[in-house]
Symmetry: C2
Subunit: 643 residues, 2 copies
């Protein structure tokens, strides 16, 4: 027996089997909602409201649903069995917002490498342009009795003359079609050629000169967001950019939850389909908005962390999670788009930037390439502030890297009023001298809906500077500000924005546990940097440049980040924000063979330090759980301010 | 409306649509018959007998069916429409005999390179062994926290250590399965690796050590016969050999007829399926007789003329036939067995020996490699006596080649009593001094059924030596032997064997037009040799070695071949028979990477001379239409004998 589930907000209706869970119905309807714990009922993110009365469903009791909510029909979708026809409303907080490619709202990615507000440009290595694929127009001399070179070798001869590449592979169907095709085209054809692993392959032939219509995609597969650049392979220019949520979000917000989900029945297939659907929706968007044809996209250079790369290729990531944490592959084989069902030219190729280890993936290799660290004599530090907090330290001789297990706090996850960097997210606050008033700034100046990563650095710094919290992250007593109160859990919290001003009509607060959470995250990253320095026998002052990447970094206030001890207390002009360096690195690799070779070489020479088994990391962790640090002498400028 | 057609000899019955042609019914039943002209009604080869009365069919009148035959129900299958249920008998002469891989009946291919009766071994170049594919057993060190190399790179590392090959490709499905598989196999696996174009690919993984079960096939795709060696890739030894007719024979006996057939609706598909069916039947035979598994055959090195190679790969050969005679490809891409439906390991690879031009194919490159001509300072000549008569002349500095358009006379085609080298084929005759008696030898001493290639050289030579014919190939009057008579066409013919002694109960004869036909064939080859010599400014005495290949060559009497002017009058120890050199060359390439590279290099440096537009070939052709030649001084030893 099947039931109908209606979603009037979306004008959608789906049929599901009796006793299915409601989350599956939501997913089936193609509605993107939050489901952080992948259906385990533990995160409370998938809260929805059943409008049609309690007779059509059974909801397991949940600590996330208050009595009043229960009466109003609120349920966790993943904990609710569908027993009859239902009408369901998705609350604002539960929805995954559109866009969300961090930074996309501001820059539209026209100029990702030149993020405004950065203190300078990364030292760019200059790479020669030889894209992953391109189109070559050739006018082939017709054969004669004196020149009987076969059709394929004749085509190859002309292509070699134009490209300097001596040997081309060709797939059998194209070889079969070749002779008639080039004659029907009067010996004027455009060949699509692509670099497949270390070879070159003719992937397409078109009649006449179509060489101007040749596109590639640089693709950043983030755990949370997925972003593409559509790039004109003739000019190397970005034609369009798009970002969206990774549809895998419905199966868990963090990498580990997804790896575990992949072990369930059809879990891997669903996760792989979700990322393919995500990428295809982005491709659909750029293709239709720019009026180009899918088959004119000849290649994709993808970049992502190791788990995302595995799931994108349909490779089970299970051993990434199990000690000793082994990926299936660091440098995956090139694949054809049709092997993954990615809707570009079916014989278009997909290459992934090589990774280093289970928790330092191709996104970090791409980041290193984007900042040029591997070509500089000076030692630099790259900090990628994503879910995990990966760091790389090095120069042209060596690079060491680590994943800091920083957790997703800076993405707003696990924070009571946390949110992603969406419209209305609080990025910055200022507390009045009397500690009664709060001025805040939100993304796009929309009504506040929560605190995003930049705000989560800013708020503790401001609270500390104003003496509202102490260096251990605790409130300096309840009386110091009228905004401090004890909440229903008996915990102290600071009200940033009162309910009447907010989108949800609820107070936006920061709790003591939120601050503890942020301290743990910043501590993990700071300690990771210390461990890498120690491994190499270096000190902070040996670092010439600090590159900060991640969409997060775009709006980061260095002063505040140093104040909470996230970043080391170094000259402010050492810091440089490089935006989405995974995407930038992917774009560089898409356009330059030299860069692709450099990426392989760099990934090969990067040493991975497993922090979870590093004694210093284990022993000194607690010393980082202060603002900015137990040893305040590590932060002389903060020490001055707090005097 | 459908009709049933029964073939009681084969216990087969098929249903065909009303008004279908009977040849299609025969093919549908899987019965192999001769159909030289591919259904045009011109060759008379597909003669069958309808046993069930004239009411069920309509046969177009044919010069090949006598009145008596018509009464007895004889029809040309291709010219007969099926109008009712039929019972059909296939006469002995119409059948394609089993085996027929020339030489297979004698040697069972145990030792193709050492054909008995040859005057010595070819000067073999020694090639280092590195087969096209092989199996490597590896015991992979398990990963630890100190050695976190990913699974694929770990596998690659061990394979590199064992093979010296640094990079391996892997297909996506295998990469997806890799991590679980190697753990389930307790880190002990056998990898099947193959050379795919210029790369190496892991095509298979098996648990434990299965490395001893690794086979490859050397495959000679002849226009008429197809032969395989099953080769143990560990030892390089031939495990088994099989030959059979090319099932394409039902669509025409010669290459040109088949190319034309390929232009008809579904023609290419049928021809390609026919050769695939042929190869699969050979594989089935060697696999079942030797109790091995299809998936343990990892690779095929195929060799054939350019048209056969095209059809095997499903490439339309149409421009091979049209001036300026252009193949689609000389060096085809490596393909997976599954792309062609060839029943070895589906990811097993198929590589074809590269060809030189439309009428000098990979079989000739293989032949050059087999005789070692390309590595010898001395100039040698290779004569491949197949349907076309291809020749190559050269040394380590240069090689020139040509196709002589000799026609299929030496294959018994177009000769009144001609047959292939099957049981009962006459190979040799001796005529008594009184010219009344004929002693003959047949293959396997079976009752004579016709004259095969060796006999067609032997008989004119013997007739000439005994003065029964003159040097212009005409009978020396009707009275010179009682065996000379004028046949129903008013033509003179010599009875080799009278009806009572023959298989068919009909006289076996050689007619004046048969002799003219043979003279044209031998003349084309001899003149081809002259043209190549002239192109290089050389004379016959500059040729150090003459290698004769083709199944035909196995029993060839050099004395007689010189007598009729097929071979030049050179010291008898210059001649060497090298058997099926296409197959031998394929085997060498299967086993040695060095040989495969040499084959590419050799094919690349071989110059093709198009005889059909060569002035000498056009002008001097008539001078070759004598026995042995108009200018008998070119044949001093024959001049002596004929004195």
């Amino acid at each position: 027996m099947a039931h109908k589930v209606k979603f009037p907000q979306y004008k959608k209706e789906v049929e599901v089997a009796d006793n299915s869970d409601l989350l599956s119905a939501v997913i089936k309807a193609g509605i993107e909602i939050r489901a952080t714990c992948a259906g385990q009922g533990t995160c409370g993110a998938c809260k929805v409201q059943v409008l049609s009365g309690p007779e059509g469903y059974f909801a397991s009791p949940s600590p996330w649903i208050s009595k009043d909510e229960k009466k109003a029909g609120y349920v966790l979708a993943c904990q609710t069995a569908v027993l009859g026809d239902l009408t369901v409303e998705i609350p604002q907080d539960t929805k995954l917002e559109k866009i969300q490619a961090v930074g996309a709202d501001r820059e539209d990615f026209e100029d990702t490498e030149n993020i405004p507000g950065t203190t300078g440009q990364p030292e760019k290595t200059s790479f020669t342009c030889q894209p992953l694929a391109r189109k070559i127009y050739i006018n082939i001399p017709e054969p004669t009795l004196k020149d009987t070179t076969p059709d394929f070798e004749r085509l190859e001869r002309e292509l070699s003359a134009k490209t300097g590449i001596s040997d081309f592979n060709i797939n059998l169907p194209l070889l079969r079609a070749l002779s008639r095709f080039i004659r029907q085209s009067n010996w004027e054809v455009t060949a699509g050629i692509a670099e497949f692993n270390s070879d070159f392959e003719i992937i397409q032939l078109e009649a006449g000169n179509t060489s101007k219509n040749a596109y590639g995609l640089a693709l950043d597969i983030g755990t949370t967001t997925v972003v593409v650049h559509l790039i004109d392979l003739n000019t190397g220019q970005i034609t369009a950019s798009k970002g969206t949520y990774n549809l895998q979000m419905s199966f868990g917000e963090d990498v580990i939850t997804r790896i575990m989900y992949a072990q369930e029945k059809d879990g891997l297939e669903k996760l792989t389909k979700a990322i393919h659907d995500t990428v295809n929706s982005l491709i659909h968007a750029v293709v239709s908005e720019n009026k180009i044809f899918n088959h004119d996209i000849l290649c994709i250079q993808a970049s992502g962390n190791t788990s995302m790369t595995h799931l994108f290729l349909g490779i089970n990531p299970e051993y990434i999670r199990k000690e000793p944490y082994i990926p299936s592959v660091n440098l995956p084989t090139t694949v054809y788009a049709c092997e993954l069902g990615i809707k570009i030219n079916p014989k278009g190729i997909i290459s992934c930037v090589p990774g280093v280890a289970s928790y330092v993936g191709g996104d970090i290799t791409a980041g290193v390439l984007a900042c040029g660290m591997q070509d500089s004599a000076e030692t630099s530090l790259l900090i990628d502030l994503g879910t995990n907090g990966e760091i790389a330290l090095g120069n042209s001789d060596w690079i060491v890297s680590a994943a800091c297990s920083a957790g997703p706090a800076f993405e707003g996850v696990g924070i009571k009023s946390g949110t992603r960097a969406v419209d209305g997210a609080i990025q910055e606050i200022e507390i009045s001298a009397d500690k009664k008033q709060v001025k805040y700034e939100t993304i796009n100046n929309k009504k506040p809906r929560g605190i995003c990563g930049t705000g989560l650095i800013d708020i503790p710094a401001e609270l500390l500077r104003k003496g509202i919290i102490t260096r251990d992250g605790k409130f300096n007593g309840e009386k110091v500000s009228p905004r401090i109160r004890r909440n229903e859990d008996g915990e102290l919290e600071f009200v940033v924005v009162y309910a009447p001003e907010t989108q949800s009509g609820k107070d936006i607060v920061i709790t003591e546990s939120d601050i503890a959470n942020i301290i743990r995250s910043k501590g993990a990253i700071f300690l990771g940097i210390q461990v890498l320095l120690q491994e190499m026998g270096l000190k902070f002052e040996n670092i010439g440049k600090i590159y900060i990447s991640g969409g997060f970094g775009t709006y980061l206030d260095v002063e505040k980040a140093i104040m909470i001890g996230l970043l080391p207390d170094l000259p402010r002009n050492s810091f440089q924000f490089i935006g989405n360096s995974s995407l930038t690195g992917a774009k560089i690799c898409l356009l330059s063979k030299q860069a692709r070779e450099k990426a392989k070489e760099t990934a090969g020479k990067m040493t991975y330090i497993e922090l979870s088994v590093n004694p210093k990391f284990m022993n000194e962790y607690t010393s980082t759980l202060f603002l900015p640090h137990t040893d305040i002498n590590l932060f002389p400028s903060v020490k001055n301010q707090l005097k």
